[in-house]
């Protein structure tokens, strides 16, 4: 299928409480339209996956939601409040403050810090004490509470035994888990995972799927993820959106998407006589 023939599929209707809503999101870099008129939404408690071939604009869509990019046009709403879109100038930290946390496709841990300090750093956002209080270490109670919470998060992801190791000395899979734990430390309600299973073997991928469902329930999260491992996507997603050449070409439940001929064509290609 060539780029011109792709039809934009409108967003589907659901009856849950909408957490995140993208309206006609478009992101243009010069002559390249990375995301083209993309509308979607996520309901509370859902796991929604965004899939599509390489270069389809999935990570760009993520970067628009987290304000790393300023969308060319369109609107982004979080719990009904506009948090991004055309003419909205917000820095990514403000988005995190609202309760949206993310991980990165190419892991971005704080390399000069221990595993434990990586988590502690992410708690800086929610601290109540000011600069002087912190410098003079008059916030012992807060610090103690944070340390306990950071330790709990490490227990959740099973990294307590490496807490004092440098973050970048961990094996790949553990670094991914640490990134998720670090994102959780910002106390999000919506978690964005950018290819959490990249570089994992089938066994690890399977475990990761169970892990995502577990933290979703434990932390009352809504999850939005980009993923290439179709088994993982089909296993745990409630709904799936498919992007191709920046355009939304399909959406629905895993079964619907799996059987959609447009999706199959996008992934496998069709003969053009």
């Amino acid at each position: 299928m060539s780029e011109m023939e792709i039809k934009t599929v409108p967003d589907m209707e659901t009856d849950g409480e909408t957490v995140l809503k993208l309206e006609h999101l478009t992101m243009q870099f010069g002559g390249v339209i990375a995301v083209n008129d993309f509308s979607m939404h996520i309901d509370r408690g859902e796991i929604v996956a965004l899939i599509g071939p390489n270069g389809a604009g999935k990570t760009t869509a993520f970067n628009c939601v987290t304000s790393v990019y300023q969308p060319t046009s369109g609107h982004i709403y979080f719990h009904g409040k506009e948090i991004g879109g055309e003419k909205m100038h917000v820095t990514p930290d403000r988005i995190t403050e609202q309760g949206i946390a993310r991980t990165f496709q190419n892991i971005r841990l704080f390399s000069g810090m221990t595993v434990f300090d990586n988590i502690m750093t992410a708690m800086h956002l929610r601290r109540k004490s000011g600069l002087l209080t912190q410098v003079l270490h008059l916030n012992a109670e807060e610090e103690k509470k944070n340390r306990e919470k950071a330790w709990k998060l490490l227990e959740t992801v099973g990294l307590t035994d490496v807490a004092e190791e440098m973050a970048t000395s961990l094996p790949y899979g553990k670094q991914r888990l640490l990134e998720i734990a670090r994102a959780l430390a910002t106390e999000p309600t919506l978690l964005l995972l950018d290819e959490p299973a990249a570089g994992m073997n089938p066994q690890e991928t399977n475990e990761l799927g169970q892990f995502i469902v577990r933290i979703k329930n434990e932390f009352n999260l809504t999850v939005f993820m980009i993923e290439h491992h179709m088994n993982l996507v089909m296993d745990i997603s409630d709904r799936i959106y498919v992007l191709d050449f920046g355009k939304p070409i399909a959406n629905g439940t895993p079964e619907e998407v799996q059987q959609n001929p447009v999706v199959i064509a996008a992934y496998l290609g069709v003969d053009e006589e």
């Binding site: 930290d93 990165f104 704080f110 929610r126 410098v135």
Partner: protein, 365 residues
């Protein structure tokens, strides 16, 4: 949760206390003209400035070269507010005694020096901190040059004394306690700069160990991730820039006390490079390293290598090459060797307590 051993921290405190006690004792015993005290005083001053620079370059990842400019502001503010009123007609002889006709206590002047430097940092930080790496370095370097010229500008004379020097303000030697005849009963002229620098560096260490310290380090490690974790980049960079400048300002005031005079033309880019060199040799990202290397740097450049500048005879044999200026040649070679063999500086990113921890896992690089 695991609890860390307290032993390294205790040992660190013992060492610090021992150093202060040794400085105090040496001052009472050795003649005050000894080169040792020159080195200790200037070393303490440079240690503070180097640590303040390390806070920016090593811990926040902001490559700034404005240190000499902020030191200049600190030195001038200190001088302007502490020259005794009766001495002002002499100092400001070309400007009819100058505009300011009051003095403040030394401690207040020190804090004012820091605040003035921090204020300028806030002002230039607004536009400049948007820049990254080399561009930021060039912009801050430019700022330092501009400040140096503005201070010497004639219309500024009634305040800054123009291109003439400020002098007759309290210096380190005025901290010595004297009896009625003017004889020194208790020498404090080295201990006091150690105390000032110690308190300031202590505050910086406390900052680095707080939540804010971690936030600054996260900016150094990965700006994009730091921002995604909710750390406001602009705010935290500005904060680091102002705090660093505050302590550079106090360091400038200490330099004024050490030199007993202040003149803008000495606060050159070369001074910033000296401090950068100290930071790099000590280890970018190590407070202990900066402190060690400033004393080593000052001792080597002012004292230990002095003999290379004079003719030396071994028996009847005159050692070749030794003449005025040769010291700097040797000094440069030593620095090159250090940089070649200690790629990460003397301390790397380790601190004093780390030296007492038996197994410290290094970052896998």
């Amino acid at each position: 949760m695991k609890t860390k051993s307290r032993k390294p921290a205790v040992l660190t405190w013992v060492i610090v206390a021992a150093v202060y006690a040794a400085v105090f004792a040496a001052e009472q015993i050795l003649p005050p003209s000894s080169m040792l005290f020159t080195v200790l005083k200037k070393g303490a001053t440079y240690a503070l400035v180097a640590v303040s620079m390390n806070l920016l370059n090593g811990f926040t990842g902001i490559f700034s070269l404005g240190q000499a400019g902020f030191m200049l502001i600190g030195a001038y503010v200190y001088g302007i507010f502490t020259i005794p009123v009766e001495s002002r007609p002499v100092v400001y002889q070309y400007y009819e005694g100058g505009l300011i006709q009051f003095t403040v206590p030394v401690a207040v002047a020190l804090i004012l020096a820091g605040l003035a430097a921090a204020f300028f940092a806030l002002l230039i930080g607004l536009p400049v901190l948007r820049l990254k790496s080399d561009y930021l370095a060039i912009a801050t370097l430019g700022f330092a040059e501009i400040i140096r010229v503005i201070v010497q500008w004639d219309p500024m004379g009634p305040i800054t004394n123009g291109a003439n020097m400020l002098r007759m303000f309290p210096s380190f030697n005025d901290f010595n306690i004297r009896d009625a005849e003017g004889n020194v009963t208790l020498y404090l002229s080295t201990l006091v700069p150690f105390l000032i620098a110690g308190i300031c560096i202590g505050l910086i260490v406390l900052l680095l160990h707080s939540g804010y310290g971690r936030a600054l380090k996260s900016i150094r490690d990965d700006e994009i991730a730091a921002e995604a974790m909710g750390i406001n980049l602009a705010h935290h960079k500005r904060l680091a820039f102002c705090i660093s400048s505050f302590f550079a300002g106090i360091g400038g005031a200490m330099l004024a006390m050490y030199q007993t005079t202040v003149q803008a033309k000495f606060f050159t880019t070369a001074m910033t490079y000296e401090i950068l060199l100290i930071v790099v040799i000590g280890g970018v990202g190590s407070v202990t390293g900066s402190v060690f290397s400033s004393f080593l740097f000052v001792a080597a450049s002012e004292w230990w290598l002095r003999f290379l500048d004079e003719k030396q005879m071994i028996g009847n044999f005159e050692v070749p090459l030794l003449r005025n200026g040769f010291r700097l040649v040797v000094f440069s070679i030593i620095i090159m060797v250090v940089v070649l063999f200690f790629r990460k500086g003397i301390m790397g990113t380790r601190e004093l307590p780390d030296l007492f921890r038996r197994k410290r896992k290094e970052a896998a690089k």
